[in-house]
């Protein structure tokens, strides 16, 4: 079998249809969308407007509410810093969650050094925060709630519509980082009370380096201070010449995702469930991290007791996945998301995230099950922890010799 890619939450291949849509904008239609006075500019501008419409449709927004960015990291920074600075006179308190992506956590941490206060909600062991938690955290000086639609590591989906309704009631701006959810599960910014939403093309079979930020214009009209100044593009919210081919790709990818979502999400969830069933059938002492009822259709995060994640990945090295193990991170810290769910370090080190995608086949899933089972058994045979557990030793009572 050729190599298998099950790391779609990290990035996705560009769909051939998306690449086809983009190419003319590298070739003959190379104009700058801001060139108002000739055909080259008009063609580019039309393509960008069309892409805006394509993205807006996916979330039931108006195309006027779509701002182009370089991706979700920029979108999150723009939303969080932009709102914080614009509404500083109203208040300086924000609410977010411990297991957000760093692109939300780091701007919030930065704001803490600038005289803002942040309440960091703790998720439950499945990764969800409750409406009650958000309500308790709200104050008179709260200006923003930022909660990701779905978590990138374990796939858990927050109760977004309920939180959106609460924010509307309390007149607090609600931002959601929808990077992993956009195009995978239905999102309706009107029905769900969302005021700001970040998305990225490279998670939905589009190109890297481009994304969009939805900014509500009505009820309420959300304003934000731009991060980038220089010409006032994108209604003053994001200056800079537009990445026309990237934007065309983002729009095309959004449209394909929207059209295929009903069938694709069902198919992929079926494959994910098949994987979990297959692993459970052939292995003992594995556990699933996250929330099976409120989960992205493509994400499966599993801890394999007594074996470490990086060695596991080496064991099936032609299958691409990722792990929450410290050994796989440059900082040698285990996944803060898994720790945030209350997982012990040993379970965090033993975790693997499988994130399936549009091009994942049943054959690949069956092959992966086989290879994972083989690797887990090989490593358990080598594992002193497995040996101790088999002997009935309670590992939590052992005094380890740290070095």
């Amino acid at each position: 079998m050729k190599s298998v890619y099950l790391d779609n939450n990290a990035t996705t291949p560009v769909d051939p249809r998306v690449l086809d849509a983009m190419l003319p904008y590298f070739r003959e239609n190379f104009g700058n969308a801001a060139s108002r006075n000739h055909r080259y500019g008009w063609v580019a501008e039309e393509a960008v407007d069309n892409a805006r419409e394509q993205v807006a449709k996916v979330i039931n927004a108006s195309s006027k509410e779509i701002i182009w960015t370089s991706g979700s990291t920029e979108g999150n920074n723009t939303a969080i810093l932009g709102v914080a600075r614009m509404y500083a006179d109203k208040g300086k308190h924000l609410i977010t969650c411990r297991i957000e992506h760093k692109a939300v956590i780091d701007p919030c941490k930065f704001l803490e050094t600038q005289g803002y206060e942040v309440t960091w909600l703790e998720p439950d062991p499945t990764g969800r925060v409750s409406l009650e938690q958000v309500k308790q955290a709200m104050r008179d000086d709260t200006i923003l709630v930022s909660l990701m639609f779905a978590n990138n590591e374990v796939g858990t989906i927050h109760p977004i519509p309920e939180i959106g309704a609460l924010c509307k009631q309390r007149e607090i701006i609600f931002h959601t980082d929808a990077t992993q959810a956009f195009g995978k599960v239905p999102i309706d910014v009107e029905a769900m009370g969302i005021d700001l939403l970040s998305l990225s093309a490279h998670k939905i079979y589009g190109p890297k380096g481009v994304g969009a930020l939805y900014v509500r214009r009505k009820k309420p009209r959300v304003r934000l201070q731009p991060l980038i100044h220089g010409g006032g593009h994108e209604r003053g919210m994001r200056s800079g010449t537009l990445n026309v081919p990237g934007i065309v790709g983002c729009g095309a990818a959004a449209e394909v995702a929207m059209n295929e979502m009903p069938t694709e999400s069902v198919r992929i969830a079926g494959l994910r469930d098949r994987m979990w069933a297959g692993l459970s059938e052939h292995l003992t002492e594995i556990s699933r991290n996250g929330n099976p009822q409120h989960c992205l259709p493509n994400t499966l995060n599993v801890s394999f007791l007594y074996v470490e994640g990086e060695s596991l990945m080496m064991g099936f090295s032609d299958i691409a996945v990722s792990s929450g193990s410290a050994c796989t991170s440059a900082s040698l810290e285990p996944s803060y998301v898994l720790k945030g769910l209350g997982l012990g370090d040993d379970l965090a080190h033993s975790s693997i995230r499988f994130s399936l995608g549009r091009f994942t086949t049943e054959e690949e899933i069956d092959y992966t099950i086989k290879e994972v089972v083989k690797a887990v058994n090989h490593l358990r045979n080598m594992s002193p922890l497995y040996e101790m557990a088999q002997q009935g030793i309670d590992l939590s009572k052992v005094v380890w010799q740290h070095h």
């Binding site: 090295s317 193990s325 050994c327 370090d345 040993d346 080598m382 002193p384 040996e387 380890w400």
Partner: protein, 139 residues
């Protein structure tokens, strides 16, 4: 950073994986690391009456580099005396396995495991610690 061939080799063709009876008088057992750190190595040596290591076994919970480091350590200590084996330096493991900087700590842990196993069997045999080279004030 792709895995080095030697590291992969130790994973796919592990040498000396296994366990000895830790209760035996001529078996030394070293367990180092902790599950919270993502690295636990158990290294055991069987020693003859001349303090020569005649067999070594290991089990490791950890990344590929940790597995390879401990596997290599068991290969190297076999046939050496306890004193020779205690000279094993982690830098030799780093060189042999071409470990990148971020994985050097795996080799340090393997060195610790060897020392712990040696210390264990020495204790069982009633060896004193090597005398410190301090000279008594009045001698």
């Amino acid at each position: 950073m792709a895995y080095s061939d030697k590291v992969v080799d130790h994973y796919q063709n592990p040498r000396n994986v296994g366990s000895m009876d830790a209760a035996l008088k001529n078996v030394g057992t070293g367990i180092v690391g902790a599950p919270e750190c993502g690295d636990v190595m158990k290294l055991q040596i069987k020693v003859d009456e001349n303090d020569r290591i005649v067999d070594a076994k290991f089990k490791t919970f950890g990344c590929g580099s940790a597995i390879a480091s401990s596997s290599l350590a068991t290969e190297w200590v076999k046939g050496r005396t306890l004193d020779e084996a205690s000279q094993l330096k982690n830098t030799e493991i780093v060189t042999e396995l071409a470990l990148p900087p971020v994985k050097i700590h795996c080799s340090v842990l393997a060195e610790d495991a060897v020392r712990a196993a040696i210390a264990d069997v020495k204790k069982k045999r009633g060896h004193t610690q090597p005398a410190a080279t301090t000279v008594a004030a009045n001698s």
